[in-house]
């Protein structure tokens, strides 16, 4: 009977390793059919993930194999007594130091990546200078405010700002930065394809930068519980070429400032009421 239980306990780590190895093939890995991250930073994050996966897999298989082997031997132990020992200093030193070194290595190894990702000093300069949009989360939608074509994003809304809801357009191949806000409760700006996530905190403006490297339409979801409609904060980020992006802004301007007479009414003082979202 004991051997049966050993096999039972052996089955699970094997199943775990097999299912993890299978995951990329059956689409259980990163989203969009296990496609590479759609940002260069995301690709580096995935690299770190695979490194840790490798380390943990070795540890997991190792410890489980030893455990099952020890159980197997122990369950057929016909001796009168088990081995009498209170421990072994050398062994314990070895198995404290080796994982310690590995963990410390992992900790130091990722510092650069984290700095590039989130610490403003390391952000690409161009992106910091010209944030492309302000993203405001609210129960339960995403609102985007772009500066008028040729202008820079101002902290306060301007009369010629462009607005859209649940659809953010960004150009690919260059770093862009958004200013993230929340109007009511806490939300979280989660772009799985780009491996980007940042909570939107009421009262703060948080800069988030990313560089999409592929055209595409990506889901933007909310990752922080924000009320009963948390699951339905459904938006898209449309990554397109610079030209398409400029076109989009032009169209947006036209739509927004269309005064009913075929003239574009941008830059006029009375356009404020139309600029507000309906």
């Amino acid at each position: 009977m004991g051997k049966g239980w050993c096999l039972f306990f052996l089955f699970w780590p094997v199943a775990a390793v097999v299912s993890c190895a299978m995951a990329p093939m059956v689409g259980w890995s990163f989203p969009y059919d296990n496609a590479q991250a759609a940002s260069n930073l995301g690709i580096r994050i995935d690299g770190l993930f695979y490194l840790i996966l490798f380390v943990t897999a070795v540890v997991f298989v190792g410890t489980q194999a030893v455990l099952v082997y020890a159980l197997w031997r122990g369950s057929s132990n016909r001796d009168e007594r088990a081995t009498y020992t209170h421990g072994n200093h050398k062994l314990e030193l070895i198995w404290s130091i080796i994982p310690g070194v590995i963990l410390l290595f992992l900790a130091l190894y990722q510092m650069n990546l984290w700095a590039d990702f989130r610490i403003k000093k390391y952000f690409p300069e161009a992106a910091v200078k010209a944030p492309i949009a302000e993203v405001t989360a609210r129960q339960f939608e995403w609102r985007f405010r772009y500066p008028a074509i040729g202008k820079e994003l101002q902290p306060k809304p301007q009369s010629d700002d462009l607005y859209s809801v649940n659809e953010l357009h960004v150009p690919f191949g260059k770093p862009v930065m958004i200013q993230l806000r929340s109007e009511d409760v806490q939300h979280s700006f989660f772009l799985p394809a780009l491996r980007i996530k940042q909570d939107a905190l009421p009262g703060l403006q948080i800069p988030v930068w990313f560089e999409a490297n592929k055209e595409g339409v990506y889901d933007l979801v909310c990752a922080e519980l924000c009320g009963w409609g948390h699951y339905k904060m459904k938006a898209h980020v449309i990554v397109e070429s610079e030209a398409d992006y400029q076109n989009y802004l032009k169209n947006l301007t036209q739509q927004q400032f269309y005064d009913g007479l075929g003239k574009i009414a941008a830059n006029e003082n009375d356009s404020e009421s139309e600029a507000t979202e309906k």
Partner: protein, 613 residues
């Protein structure tokens, strides 16, 4: 309250509770009892009842994820007649909030500290009761106002809908979550009551362990179970006041408009609350300063219990007794400086995140050391696969998975992707369900004879383990894959989003596993109630174990021991030569030195001087 007696051997003074009167009637014996063993049993049944409630809520959550918006079978039409038995998104939020609340505050924390702490501390250190028996009774009775508050908030006041973490502004401003008005306040009150209960418990445990050890029971002869409970009590005493303060601030925010946690200029439900000046991040710091140590409060006692049970089941001393204590202490002290790892995406200064990251990586080390030590304890042992052993091994294998997934999340850039996805849910269910509950199951089977004087049924126990282990892995392992695919947690309907559409079958598989796991618990309940009355009678020491509780009658009478025990050596002397026995009770003086052939050569310079009597 207490008087100091000189100890009979002059080894150390012991603090004795004033001899309390033997219980008179049914009420003082079973309801308002001050006997630690009865209180332990009260905690046990209360927490098991709550386990059913929490489990039912979990199954409701899983139902929605497998069959979104479909009427729940049987209970649905009765529970939510207004929506034709369908779970509304509001209700879904309340379901997972209450599931977590019940499991954490009413099951895991009280079953560990309340049940095992109460039962084992006096028995294992050789005391006749806790230092403060009345405080002990109160700590049990304070669970009930908490249960009533949580119950009322859920059933009558709309339901708290802000998650168990209760992040502001959602939890803080009554307008922010429709329906959660009074409910959230009641919820906070409930948490405060649980806090009072734990606080009373932890003061009692610390005092008892420090002052009431039997003569000869030095700190380094305490069973690891006691070490686990002791360190937990210290953690609780330091961390809880912070949560209580935070909770109090949130209550005044809600009722008096103090605005600690929300800033000015918000627009909620199209209205501007006009007041502000607070900071939502403040809550997260206060909350995690308690709740991170709390995850260890939910684990350290189990780590201790597993050490003692495993050592007994494989008939070997625990491998590295002192390193086990040091690693528990390291976990506890590091546990206080890693709370920020819950906040990597929160908007906290990212440079601070680096410090939290390094500390978090380092906290994986003592956990790893413990795992290696347990494995080494099994190595060379004599293993009998009874229910206790199985649950201990179940603990070990689940804990390894949960610990390793922690490393992914300690790496901040990777955590940013995984944070608030199902990967996190997988991680903490492996640790909290997988490790903690299997430890608890092992503990129930192991100490049941001491509690009730009867053995539990092995067939039922093994079947329960088998089904639970299969069900748990089937439910929780796929969560890692959901997380990888980017499925956020707390979504009533993830399939609304294009990139998550295909996840339905996986969720259905998990729900079926969860139902299997839930049903398996019926076996546990049958086993407990049947064995309580009809199980075979257990002697004093059915497991041939070594610690003090096994020298007392089963169940021990009021006052515990026939005569005050005296301790001569450490807690896990197995595999020794002691007549025809392979173990040495802590109270037994005689110890033939083990034959050289049984001893490893490196062992001579070892750390356990106390073993030589």
């Amino acid at each position: 309250m207490s008087v100091v007696h000189p100890s009979p051997t002059g080894l150390q003074p012991i603090l004795k509770p004033q001899a309390h009167h033997a219980p008179g009637n049914f009420f003082t014996k079973y309801i308002f009892s001050t006997d630690h063993k009865i209180i332990a049993i009260q905690f046990l049944f209360t927490t098991l009842l709550m386990l059913i409630v929490g489990g039912a809520l979990a199954l409701a959550v899983r139902w929605q994820l497998a069959f979104p918006w479909e009427s729940m079978p049987i209970v649905g039409p009765w529970l939510f007649s207004a929506e034709a038995g369908q779970i509304s998104p509001e209700f879904y939020t309340m379901l997972f909030t209450m599931h977590a609340t019940v499991m954490i505050f009413l099951v895991i924390i009280p079953i560990l500290a309340g049940t095992f702490g109460n039962l084992l501390i006096p028995l294992m250190i050789g005391a006749d009761d806790m230092a403060f028996p009345k405080l002990n009774m109160l700590s049990y009775w304070f669970i009930w106002p908490a249960i009533i508050c949580f119950g009322m908030s859920f059933a009558y006041a709309g339901g708290p809908a802000a998650g168990w973490t209760a992040y502001p502004v959602l939890a803080d401003l009554p307008q922010a979550a429709p329906g959660s008005g009074t409910a959230q306040t009641l919820w906070l009150l409930g948490v405060t009551f649980v806090g009072f209960s734990s606080m009373m418990g932890s003061i009692n445990y610390m005092t008892t362990i420090i002052n009431m050890r039997a003569p000869g029971m030095t700190f380094f002869r305490l069973p690891l179970t006691i070490w686990g409970l002791f360190i937990t009590a210290i953690l609780q005493a330091f961390a809880l006041p912070v949560l209580t303060a935070g909770g109090f601030m949130q209550v005044t925010d809600r009722l008096l408009g103090t605005c600690f946690f929300y800033p000015s200029g918000l627009i909620i439900n199209n209205a501007d609350p006009t007041i502000g000046g607070g900071q939502p991040l403040l809550w997260q710091h206060l909350f995690w300063f308690y709740s991170h140590p709390a995850v260890y409060i939910m684990l350290l006692p189990v780590m201790g219990m597993i050490s003692d049970m495993l050592s007994c089941m494989v008939r070997k001393p625990i491998f590295g007794y002192r390193p086990m204590i040091f690693s528990m202490s390291a976990i506890a002290s590091l546990g206080f400086i890693v709370w920020g790892h819950h906040m990597f995406t929160s908007g906290m200064n990212p440079a601070v995140g680096m410090a939290f990251m390094v500390a978090t990586m380092m906290i994986a080390l003592p956990s790893a050391v413990k795992t290696f030590n347990w494995t080494a304890t099994v190595w060379g042992g004599k293993v009998e696969f009874n229910t206790v052993t199985l649950n201990c091994i179940g603990f070990l294998s689940m804990f390894v998975v949960g610990g390793l997934s922690g490393i992914f999340m300690a790496a901040i850039p990777v955590d940013v992707y995984f944070h608030d996805t199902y990967f996190i849910v997988a991680h903490f269910h492996y640790v909290l369900f997988g490790a903690t509950l299997f430890g608890v199951f092992a503990g129930i089977h192991f100490w049941f004879p001491k509690m009730f004087g009867r053995m539990m049924n092995e067939k039922l126990g093994k079947t329960h383990f088998l089904l639970t282990f299969i069900g748990a892995n089937g439910t929780f392992f796929p969560m890692h894959f959901l997380g990888m695919q980017g499925m956020p947690r707390r979504y009533a309907d993830p399939y609304l989003h294009g990139y998550l559409e295909h996840l339905l079958p996986m969720n259905q598989f998990m729900t079926i596993s969860a139902i299997l796991m839930g049903s398996a618990q019926i076996l546990l309940f049958i086993n407990i109630f049947y064995s309580m009355f009809f199980g075979p009678k257990a002697g004093r020491n059915p497991w041939n174990a070594t610690t003090l509780e096994w020298t007392a009658p089963s169940p021990p009478p009021h006052g515990n021991f026939d005569e005050p025990p005296i301790v001569f050596h450490g807690p896990n002397e197995y595999a020794v030569h002691n007549g025809d026995k392979d173990f040495l009770l802590q109270t037994e003086k005689e110890c033939e030195p083990p034959k050289p052939s049984d001893t490893e050569p490196e062992n001579n310079t070892d750390n356990d001087q106390e073993t030589s009597s």
